[in-house]
């Protein structure tokens, strides 16, 4: 199953709603990374509100994706970790979700916007677009 990547100006939104097979996960990762590089995204929000179960593999995929996105110069935030999911992840190991988390998509976007506003290249693109 292909996961849709939504574009909100220079922020990308992804919502993972079903358990991904290994192939799907890899496909999702490379799709997102390509897209980030193509539009020079400033931020990426990965929403996992709909996931009731996150195993260690899935957690690693999400975490890796967040690091890749950061390497490509975009801020990243993970939104909507369910209480039960958080509990299991902590029990499996503390570092499983090392990226920044937000309660829901709205707060995630807020975090992204604040962080983007403090960046140097936002001002640059404003100057150039004049």
């Amino acid at each position: 199953m292909k996961i849709p990547i939504l574009r909100l100006e220079r922020i990308l939104l992804v919502s993972i709603q079903v358990d991904l097979t290994d192939n799907d996960a890899m496909q999702f990762q490379s799709d997102l990374v390509e897209q980030v590089a193509e539009i020079e995204a400033l931020g990426v929000a990965i929403d996992i509100t709909a996931l009731d179960v996150v195993d260690s593999y899935m957690a690693r995929v999400i975490n890796d994706t967040a690091s890749m996105v950061r390497l490509l110069g975009a801020e990243s935030v993970i939104c909507g970790v369910q209480p039960f999911v958080a509990l299991t992840l902590v029990e499996m190991g503390r570092d499983l979700l090392g990226a920044d988390c937000a309660f829901n998509l709205g707060q995630g976007l807020e975090i992204l916007r604040t962080r983007i506003a403090t960046r140097g290249d936002t001002r640059l693109s404003e100057d150039e677009n004049v």
């Binding site: 990762q29 490379s30 990374v33 390509e34 980030v36 590089a37 020079e40 995204a41 890796d64 690091s67 890749m68 996105v69 950061r70 390497l71 490509l72 110069g73 975009a74 960046r119 140097g120 290249d121 001002r123 640059l124 100057d127 004049v130």
Partner: protein
């Protein structure tokens, strides 16, 4: 010592063989007119040396390395060919053409003993070996020269702005280059008291474990001198590889393009590129 049929044939057909060989070689490499004279002289001297050896009494072991004039002529010939972009097989073919010509003469013209034929084989085997060795030696010298000049050319540290340095990395990063890069970067940071260093990786084709390790060392060393590091131009594939290898660049700002990286660096030193008053648009 009486002359055998073998030696006699070689003696009688000498000039015919030489002309045939020179013609064949010319057809082989479609040489440019200007070099033909030098090539002719080389072939002549080589021909004399080879026939000199062929006319000798066969010995069980043969090494051609002590034949100084032959070795020299062969090296020059191979050098000439290599400079004009010929492959190793073309060079060997030059030698083998002479072998075919000689053996064709021997088979048609006279009765030749098995020992003499095997002598012919032996001489040309050694010649082939010598040719290949010479070719490889010349190529290796070229490669060494090129990598040396690449090393010198490819590690400039640019002063982009007051207290901002730019280090554009191009090409493959190996241990030697990594050390040189680190050294020249640290030197520049110290000299200009840089606050920010931009590391542009757009020109690095492959990001693997060893490259990443070298980069980490460079970045760590730079940070010890009190400069922030901004990495730019990592490709999507590069980002995936680095992450899958488990490499985390902590406390390093990463930006998609050099453009964004420069803006970030300017912000870090509190500067800005702004349009001139009244000249907008």
């Amino acid at each position: 010592m009486s002359t055998t049929a073998f030696q006699q044939v070689l003696h009688e057909q000498r000039s015919a063989l030489l002309t045939a060989w020179i013609n064949h070689v010319a057809a082989l490499g479609d040489q440019h007119g200007s070099h033909e004279h030098a090539l002719d002289a080389l072939l002549r001297s080589l021909f004399d040396d080879i026939l000199g050896i062929l006319e000798r009494q066969p010995t069980a072991t043969l090494t051609l390395e002590h034949e100084e004039s032959l070795t020299l002529a062969l090296r020059q010939l191979v050098g000439e060919q290599a400079r004009h972009g010929s492959s190793a097989s073309t060079c060997v073919n030059v030698v083998l053409t002479l072998k075919h010509l000689v053996s064709a003469q021997l088979v048609t013209a006279a009765e030749v003993t098995l020992a003499e034929m095997s002598w012919l084989e032996q001489v040309f085997e050694q010649l082939t070996l010598l040719t290949v060795t010479a070719f490889v030696a010349i190529r290796e010298r070229q490669i060494t020269q090129q990598s040396l000049s690449l090393l010198e050319l490819s590690t400039p540290v640019l002063r982009l702005w007051h207290r901002i340095l730019l280090l554009p990395l191009v090409g493959v990063i190996d241990t030697v280059r990594a050390r040189q890069i680190t050294e020249s970067l640290l030197e520049a940071i110290a000299r200009y008291e840089a606050r920010v260093t931009i590391l542009d990786l757009t020109g690095v084709p492959v990001l693997d474990t060893s490259v990443a390790q070298h980069l980490m060392k460079t970045i760590d060393a730079a940070r010890l001198l009190g400069t922030r590091v901004v990495m730019t131009g990592i490709s999507p594939e590069g980002a995936q590889t680095l992450t899958k290898l488990g490499i985390r660049f902590a406390d390093v700002i990463s930006r998609a393009t050099l453009r964004a990286g420069i803006a970030e660096a300017l912000l870090l030193v509190g500067q800005q590129i702004a349009p001139l008053e009244g000249k907008r648009g």
